[in-house]
Amino acid sequence: MKTVEDLRRLRKRLQSQTRLRHSGGTQIIVGMGTCGIAAGAREVMAAILDEIAKRQLEDITVRQTGCIGMCEKEVLVDVVRPGEPRITYGKVKPTDVPTIIAEHVVNGRLVDELVVAKIEEPQ
């Protein structure tokens, strides 16, 4: 490292690795109830992680949640962009993941054909 600018460039690169220890950014939430897992939630989760890595997306946290009762619509995936309503996608297959990430997570456009619910969360 020769200059302060080198240090700052390195920091910027490193911060993306520790960022998930601070809240903020877009959340992707996968339903990991027994019903979700049976319907293939692990495979969807793996596809999400792959897609994030492929696109080198930053400021994203991937979380899990339990069964919310809509078992026949599993695998359920929620996307929450900061300040926007929580959108639930149903019957998500690993092949749908690139579309959801490209359209909704990155560009903020809902993937209408997969949406099953929209929840306005109290701010």
């Binding site: 302060v4 520790t18 220890r21 992680l49 792959d50 979380r63």
Partner: protein
């Protein structure tokens, strides 16, 4: 590159390591591998979170769920339930001792709520063995700033303006110390970090060195630039092996990256840091003795002046600060002196790290703004006294400090208020005592410590502390005489006035402060031959109460044959034969035997 969705932070401080965190990490890694989660969940070893009572501690991100006392046997459930399915394992959450409510999130726990973490900001949140974690958290930015944007004079001005005072005990203004060393004539100057933490019950500096070693290195390098030094020593005791290991790792990483060594950031400033391991003599925490020890001589203090700023290591101008002082420096440079000076009281700025030990619920480390009251530290952060007992006193400042009673709990804590109250800030050890503690015994304990650690160079300390200890021993043995208290006071004054170094000058403080606040306990020992707390064994009287059913178990267990009585009738203790071992109390099924 694989995207890691979850970080599992496992505390690797000394406290948690001894409660099994190394085994826990290994178990987590193998369980994650078994579930096929190794690539998406990272296990990160961190430094101390300060909540040592509850270790081993585990925090799971992104949720920030805080698990306490996690055992290897809990790992399969933790991985399957939380990391695989996203369900919080409720039974491993922390419960507030007051409300008994479970608290899933780190920042909502009472222990952390009242804290203000400046020095400990990274401790427990970064991996101390990975320099990249420190850099990601803003590390070495302050060093970059001073080297490229500030003159040494501006750095010293900034530190002076911040109001930072030495965190090792005396509280001397840090900026002034730096200025003296800078202005001292000489080409070669040294920076020394005093990491010879030796107060009983103190572990603040160890936790900083183990949890965030780069912060200390960065503070030292900034000091080196300010005073015109290119070489530094960290004097750390050999019984801190983990701290030494992490310091060595940190120095090697910083040198490999060009953040220490020659021509840092192309500024022409070069700085090298060496580690000197001390053998653990308490007196080597005194700065002149410490310098002697680095030079390879016997650690003994010498008269000052000349102060180390003029003539220190190998006769060269030397700046000595302790670990916590240096650890404050990078934040002052980044956030500015005004920010720092806005925290704390009129004459004591910033935060202070305290080590909470003794009869307190939450043993651990707490960093609080100056000016907070002892009550807030002990009852809000510390969670109060164990087993619901009554608070009696708190020993602050280690063997050099004093014991403060309940009436002083609402005193705002800063350097000056503590000295006025007969104690001192010291390095920040807080030993909390409850109603079952005998204050004469406590004074004897601390004096025994300083007496054994006295280096023997000057007579008042060597002879004086020994004679005072003899008097205290006599008093606790029931052989106290009228006039002992006054004799202790007069000797204490002489020792304070005539000793060569800080060890002797402060050694009588625990005696003086316990006499000041608990004189009646001394009088009870001397006049009534009674220990009100029932601690001093030679003064204890064992009595069998009417709860006795006459079972005879005590008679059987008594090694001195001091108990007599017929079966099914109340037994008696013969005080002449009783050796006060307490075996009868432990044996009695009816709690009929009392020690008074």
């Amino acid at each position: 590159m694989q995207y890691v969705r979850s970080h599992v932070l496992v505390c690797g401080g000394t406290g948690c390591t001894s409660s099994g965190s190394k085994e826990l990490q290994a178990a987590l890694k193998s369980e994650l591998a078994k579930k096929g989660l190794s690539k998406e969940v990272a296990v990160v070893e961190t430094g101390c979170h300060g909540f040592c009572e509850m270790g081993p501690l585990v925090i799971v991100y992104p949720e920030g769920v805080f698990y306490v006392r996690v055992q290897v046997s809990d790992v399969p459930e933790l991985v399957d339930s939380h990391l695989y399915k996203g369900r919080v394992v409720e039974r491993l959450l922390y419960r507030e001792p007051k409300s008994h409510e479970k608290v899933p999130n780190y920042n909502d726990i009472d222990f952390y709520k009242k804290q203000m973490r400046v020095v400990l900001a990274n401790c427990g949140h970064i991996n101390p063995e990975v320099i990249e974690d420190y850099i990601a958290a803003g590390g070495y930015e302050a060093l970059g700033k001073v080297l490229t944007e500030m003159t040494p004079e501006e750095v010293i001005d900034e530190i002076k303006k911040s109001g930072l005072r030495g965190r090792g005990g005396g509280g001397f203004p840090t900026g002034m110390k730096w200025e003296f060393t800078k202005k001292a004539p000489g080409d070669k100057k040294y920076v020394v970090c005093n990491a010879d933490e030796g107060d009983p019950g103190a572990f603040m500096d160890r936790s900083v060195l183990e949890g965030d070693p780069h912060r200390v290195l960065e503070g030292m390098a900034i000091c080196g630039y300010a005073i015109g030094s290119d070489e530094a020593y960290i004097y750390v005791r050999a019984e801190y092996p983990l701290a030494i290991k992490r310091l060595k790792t940190a120095i090697a990483q910083a040198e490999a990256m060009g953040l220490l060594g020659d021509n840092i950031f192309g500024s022409g400033f070069s700085f090298r840091i060496h580690i000197k391991e001390g053998a653990g003599a308490f007196v080597c925490g005194e700065e002149t003795a410490l310098l002697q020890s680095i030079e390879g001589k016997r650690g003994m203090p010498r008269p000052r002046p000349p102060f180390p700023a003029i003539s220190g290591l190998w006769g060269k101008p030397t700046n000595i600060n302790n670990v916590e002082t240096y650890a404050n420096v990078p934040q002052i440079i980044i956030k500015g002196a005004d920010w720092y000076a806005s925290i704390g009281t009129e004459r004591s700025k910033g935060t202070k790290v305290f080590a909470l030990t003794g009869k307190i619920n939450n043993t651990g480390l707490a960093e609080v703004p100056m000016g907070i009251t002892m009550r807030e530290i002990i009852f809000d952060i510390g969670g109060g006294i164990q087993e619901g007992k009554r608070f009696k006193a708190v020993q602050i400042g280690g063997p050099s400090g004093g014991c403060l009673p309940e009436t002083m709990l609402d005193l705002p804590i800063d350097y000056d208020s503590l000295v006025q109250a007969g104690a001192m800030m010291g390095s920040g050890g807080l030993v909390v005592m409850d109603e079952t503690t005998c204050m004469v015994d406590v004074a004897k304990f601390f004096l025994n410590f300083t007496q054994s650690e006295s280096c023997g160079k000057c007579t008042p300390c060597r002879e004086g502390t020994k004679r005072m200890l003899e008097i205290l021993t006599r008093i606790t043995n029931g052989e106290g005489q009228e006039g002992d208290i006054e004799l202790l006071e007069s000797m204490a004054r002489s020792i304070k006035a005539a000793s060569l170094c800080g060890l002797g000058q402060t050694a009588p403080n625990p005696v003086l402060s316990t006499i000041r606040y608990f004189r009646n306990e001394y009088e009870a020992h001397i006049r009534d031959k009674r220990c009100p707390a029932g601690v001093c064994v030679k003064l204890a009287v064992f009595r069998i109460t009417e709860l006795c059913k006459g079972c005879g178990l005590c008679k059987k267990i008594c090694p001195a044959g001091a108990i007599s009585g017929e079966l099914k009738s109340r037994h008696m203790v013969d005080p002449a034969k009783c050796i006060r071992c307490g075996a009868c109390i432990a044996k009695c099924p009816f709690k009929a035997i009392v020690k008074e």
